[in-house]
């Protein structure tokens, strides 16, 4: 029974599949897609310059271990580790292994030349911070909350552990001297000191001659230094059973009165760094005799790691001279190295320096040189050497939080003749090459030249609008508070702007403030909103073509929600409503015109706030304008009009999705194969809410019989639940996309141990049964304005399928007019983007579709959704830690631009229903022209010939 059906279905499915595939050829990679690799903000760096390739090994906030080329900043290799386990330490052991320590206690060793994993050891499982040190014996030491682990760096074997019997030990510090390891840490408010034998792990708890309650302390080469609350610096040599303490008054030591000071945790062997509230930095030397001031630096400075230099230790100090220049100085022992003092001009758009890593090298003239790697406030990484920036990487792009797209300006008339000639020449050359390639006459060099020509097409990166709408600017906002504009042609950075005020804000969002349609020669403007939990916000208005900040505004409230209203004023600024913590609404722009526009529309504005913790959704409307007090502006009061409460013990909100506000839909009618019509329920205010059974925190506690996912469709104006459906044995996380009249959501089925994808389609059945004659005469007008308060008779169709991959994120394609079919863009756990045709997620699929349905394109039902190798939009590329997929309509209706971001960035195009409205990119116009010319000539020649022949015949 089943087998014959399979034989019937297979060809049908194959047909559908062939129609759905739009994979690219190998030589098309890079033609219109680009992939950029990043690593994130660097937290640890180790230089490796002794032998072979000069490289620097870095670990980042994004849990990436990477090896960078020291000359160019390019990535030699990188390993992306689990993002939820930040990297606590990085060392290079035995000169050939890069060893990283992750938060979960995993110690991993990577081979320096190629980044392959050599060994991996799991020391513990608790997610508490730890430190990684390299012992003089080239073994590794991990210090975690009072437990010391020593691991062999050759094979990752645990050599010994020492449990210092103090679970509470915090802010530990460690140093080595000879055969001993010294550990100090806070145990409560007092300090605990230990000495450990480096070879056996036997430890001694040291006592101090008097109890200590310091504010900060450091350990350095077996000497202990602490600042106590009386403003004294206390030092002690950690020998014997009892540490003898020496007290020195800070005021006498520094020769000036000090109200408060702090010992910085920067490691300096045989010394420490003290910063005072006056902004000065003191480098102190510590030894058996006591403490002395080695050097004093005025003003704030950033201190690098220390390196061994001719038997003494050296550090570099970076100070900002002005907004453009940084002074680099190197301190060796007591003295500044005169030759190493440099003033480097840096991009003022990078903010302050947050971290410095120093390395020394021998110049060609045998003198000593220094290079420093700096991490900027904007997450950028730059190498300074010989007074200039050798290279820099924009690592903020590894943490994109929001994006917008901007149209480029229109092409100006009047192009120079030379340019046209050049273009013409290039054009001709390209076509001749292409023709040769088509006729298989091209040599290997010509083939590569053609490929290069195709990849570096000058048209791709022009700064003007193109006919098909493929050239745009993608404005991305990163968590560092830096904005970038990327050109869709090659991903190049057109401008970048660092807004320091945004870097401290927790949640950042971008809104299209002004998209000019009438005044096309004016630039589009984006509104950047940042708000933090401390109740303040920040708004900046940024020109999307130049990146200049037009206006900034510090908000005295934190923005919970911003609504981009469907209203624009006379200068095409969109009205925005910012909802604060007290649910008061602030209207921007604050002009009389926008006020009068808003007052007319006010009774139609609603908003809802879903609270995950409270398990409820509350709906509000705008009540009245209130006096804004001294802050000024236009402030409105809102009132709660509805609320939906979910039972707390059985449902927690897992996902909320709405339709995109700017989505274009061509028609509300769906015509079936039997020529019936279904009306799509296109309510823009419909919200999809998914709730799941709360997770038991215990491992393995989820009982498959008792987990549920409940999907709701709620009208966010009235709070009415339009539809509710529950799925048994389902578990989060839930990902959902909402487009037109359908929702596709994905979850995990605990009983089947597989991921499932479900679809809900909503149809308006209240217009059914209308006479054809009535429609012909236009009596029935289905396009009257739609109100949520006029109830409709809805029909919801749904179906579920298995999906073979774990989903990270989901999105859907948008096209300019909404005529083209849809693809669901699925970001998988393998960091790739799959384009899944929406037709596979049609609730009308049945095991045996009628001929009418087949004709319409309804695919026979199968339990799983197919994933073909051709449907990977990212082809061979991986977008590490994929977090979001953005789709932007091109002007060409068939095509949609797709931008995926994670640690990496990826951009491509997709045509869900194939490119039915354009010729392919490599269409040979020259061949066509030549064919036409040849044909015309052939016709003319044969005409003459046939006339002659006819004449001869007649004379016979």
């Amino acid at each position: 029974m089943g087998s014959w059906r399979r034989w019937v279905l297979a060809p049908a499915l194959l047909l559908v599949v062939l129609a759905a595939c739009d994979a690219i050829y190998e030589d098309q990679v890079g033609l219109w897609d680009w992939h950029q690799e990043y690593i994130g903000k660097v937290t640890h760096a180790v230089f490796q310059t002794a032998s072979g390739k000069k490289r620097v090994i870095v670990a980042t906030e994004k849990s990436v271990v990477a090896s960078l080329n020291l000359r160019s900043g390019e990535i030699f290799w990188r390993q992306v580790l689990e993002e939820s386990e930040p990297i606590d330490g990085l060392q290079v052991a035995l000169g050939k292994y890069a060893v990283s320590l992750s938060r979960g206690g995993s110690l991993r060793s990577f081979h320096l030349p190629d980044g392959s994993l050599i060994w991996e050891t799991s020391l513990y499982t608790s997610p508490s911070p730890a430190q990684l040190f390299l012992l003089p014996s080239d073994d590794l030491l991990v210090l975690k909350q009072g437990i010391v682990y020593v691991v062999s760096s050759a094979d990752g074997r645990l050599l010994w552990t020492a449990d210092l019997l103090d679970e509470r030990l915090a802010q530990t510090s460690l140093s080595f001297e000879g055969k001993n390891i010294y550990v100090a840490g806070f145990s409560g408010s007092s300090i605990a000191l230990f000495r450990i034998d480096a070879s056996t792990g036997a430890f001694t708890t040291l006592k101090t001659t008097e109890p200590l309650n310091p504010s900060s302390f450091v350990l350095s080469s077996g000497v202990f230094a602490a600042l106590d609350t009386q403003g004294d610096i206390v030092t002690g040599l950690m020998e014997g059973e009892v540490v003898e303490l020496q007290k020195t008054s800070l005021a006498t030591l520094l020769d000036s009165p000090v109200s408060s000071a702090q010992l910085l945790p920067d490691k300096i062997p045989g010394g420490c760094v003290l910063s005072t509230d006056g902004g000065s930095i003191f480098v102190l030397g510590l030894d058996k005799k006591g403490v002395e001031v080695l050097q004093q630096i005025q003003g704030p400075a950033v201190v690098s790691n220390s390196i061994v230099l001719d038997g003494t230790f050296a550090q570099s100090f970076l100070q900002r001279v002005n907004s453009k220049e940084i002074r680099v100085r190197v301190l060796s022992g007591k003295e500044w190295i005169e030759t190493a003092e440099e003033t480097v001009e840096v991009d003022p758009n990078k903010g302050g320096v947050q971290k410095v890593f120093m390395n020394a090298y021998i110049k060609t003239d045998r003198s000593r040189g220094f290079r420093v790697l700096i991490v900027g406030q904007d997450h950028s990484l730059a190498l300074l050497q010989q007074g200039k920036v050798v290279w820099s990487r924009e690592e903020a792009l590894a943490s994109v939080v929001d994006t917008l797209t901007a149209e480029l300006p229109l092409e100006k008339a009047g192009v120079s003749v030379a340019e046209v000639e050049h273009d013409l020449y290039e054009w001709l050359k390209g076509h001749v090459l292409r023709l040769k390639s088509t006729l298989m006459l091209a040599t290997a060099e010509e083939q590569t030249a053609l490929q290069a020509l195709r990849l570096n097409n000058a048209d791709k990166t022009k700064m003007t609008r193109d006919h098909n709408g493929f050239r745009k600017l993608i404005v991305v906002l990163t968590s560092s508070g830096k904005l970038f504009a990327l050109h869709t042609g090659n991903g190049g950075i057109v401008w970048s702007r660092f807004i320091p005020e945004l870097s401290t804000k927790g949640s950042l969002k971008l809104y299209p403030w002004r998209i000019p349609h009438k005044h096309v020669d004016e630039n589009p403007v984006a509104l950047v909103l940042g708000s933090s939990h401390d109740g303040t916000g920040f708004a900046a208005w940024v020109d999307m073509l130049t990146g200049s900040v037009q206006e900034t505004l510090a908000l005295p409230y934190s923005v919970k929600l911003a609504l981009a209203l469907p209203l624009v004023d006379s200068s095409e600024r969109r009205l925005h409503l910012l909802i604060d913590d007290q649910n008061k609404a602030h209207l921007y722009p604050t002009s009389d015109e926008s006020l009068s526009l808003f007052e007319k529309y006010m009774q139609n504005v609603y908003f809802y706030i879903a609270d995950k913790g409270a398990g409820q959704i509350e709906g509000y409307n705008i009540k009245s304008q209130i006096d804004s007090g001294e802050e000024g502006g236009l402030v409105f009061l809102s009132q709660k009009i509805w609320s939906v409460l979910f039972p707390k013990d059985s449902e927690t909100i897992a996902a909320i999705t709405t339709r995109r506000a700017d989505e274009m839909v061509h028609t509300q009618a769906k015509v079936l194969g039997n020529r019936d019509v279904w009306y799509k329920y296109l309510n823009k205010n419909m919200v999809f809410v998914a709730t799941v059974t709360p997770q038991d925190s215990r491992v393995g506690a989820a009982n498959p019989e008792e987990t549920w996912l409940v999907a709701y469709l709620i009208d966010s104006v009235t709070g009415q639940i339009l539809h509710r459906v529950s799925h048994a044995h389902a578990q989060g996380p839930v990902h959902a996309v909402f487009s037109e009249n359908w929702v596709v959501y994905c979850y995990f089925n605990v009983r089947n141990h597989r991921h499932e994808m479900s679809v809900l389609e909503v149809y308006d059945k209240s217009a059914d049964g209308k006479d054809v004659l009535q429609l012909m005469l236009g009596r029935y007008n289905a396009s009257v304005p739609f109100s949520s308060f006029s109830p409709r008779n809805l029909e919801v169709k749904g179906q579920s399928y298995f999906f073979p991959s774990t989903v990270r994120t989901m999105s859907v394609t948008f096209t300019a007019r909404g005529i083209t079919g849809k693809q669901i863009l699925v970001g998988t756990i393998g960091n790739q983007v799959i384009a899944l045709d929406k037709r596979f997620l049609d609730p009308r699929r049945s095991a045996d579709p009628t001929p009418m349905e087949r004709e319409e394109g309804v695919i026979p039902l199968s339990e799983g959704l197919p994933v073909f190798p051709q449907s990977y939009l990212t082809h061979a590329a991986r977008v590490e830690e994929l977090r979001g997929i953005i789709s932007v309509p091109a002007r060409l209706e068939s095509t949609c631009l797709v931008f995926a971001y994670g640690i990496d960035l990826f951009f491509t195009r997709t045509a869900p229903s194939r490119t039915y409205d354009s010729l392919t990119e490599d269409f040979s116009y020259a061949l066509l022209l030549i064919t036409i010319v040849v044909l015309v000539v052939a016709i003319a020649v044969s005409m003459v010939l046939s006339q002659r022949k006819e004449l001869r015949e007649k004379w016979k």
């Binding site: 919970k560 929600l561 609504l563 981009a564 209203l565 469907p566 529309y601 139609n604 504005v605 609603y606 908003f607 809802y608 706030i609 879903a610 609270d611 995950k612 913790g613 959704i617 709906g619 909100i653 909320i656 709405t658 506000a661 839909v665 061509h666 028609t667 509300q668 009618a669 015509v671 079936l672 020529r675 019936d676 019509v677 799509k680 296109l682 309510n683 823009k684 205010n685 919200v687 966010s716 104006v717 209308k770 054809v772 429609l775 012909m776 289905a782 396009s783 009257v784 304005p785 739609f786 109100s787 949520s788 308060f789």
Partner: protein, 173 residues
């Protein structure tokens, strides 16, 4: 079969009456004399026969589309109900034939039209037959789905409705 394939060396066409007109009649031969020879009754008889013959012919012509109907029906059945070049061609010829026949109805019945023959009834039959053929064409057009008789044909590009209310929201954890 063999005969037909042989080409004729030469042929004389005796049937061509017009050529005799150009040659003068022999002396003493009068063309009008032959009619004079015939008596009146014979002439009347002949007229009567001619009239009935015309009437018969007119009826025959009026019924001619009837035979076509079966042919057309068979062709339509063969063409099937999917839209492709063949079925479209047949359907449009099925529509065009009756229409063109109805347009030329005057010309079709002209040779038989005189005082004695009544062509009204044959004409009516002819029109009825052609209307039946046209109806079949239309029915075929409808079964191909090319007639806008369904609601879907009138609302397929109905734009989505404007929203009266505006709403937006956020999920806070």
């Amino acid at each position: 079969m063999e005969r037909g394939s042989k080409a004729r060396k030469w042929a004389i066409d005796f049937g061509d009456g017009t050529s005799s007109r150009e040659v003068a009649d022999p002396p003493g031969y009068s063309r009008g004399a032959s009619s004079e020879i015939e008596d009146a009754s014979a002439a009347r008889q002949k007229e009567k026969v001619e009239a009935s013959w015309k009437q018969q012919k007119a009826w025959e012509i009026a019924q001619a589309p009837f035979r076509n109907l079966f042919m057309m029906g068979f062709m339509m059945w063969m063409a099937g109900n999917t839209v492709h070049l063949f079925s479209i061609g047949i359907t449009f010829s099925a529509l065009w034939q009756p229409i063109s026949a109805l347009q030329g109805i005057g010309k079709v019945f002209e040779p038989y039209k005189d005082a004695r023959t009544d062509v009204l009834m044959p004409k009516l039959l002819f029109i009825a037959m052609n209307l039946v053929a046209l109806g079949m064409g239309l029915w075929k057009l409808n079964s191909l789905g090319l007639l806008p008789t369904h609601a879907s044909d009138w609302v397929s590009s109905l734009p989505p409705p404007q929203m009266v209310e505006f709403s937006g929201g956020v999920l806070s954890s």
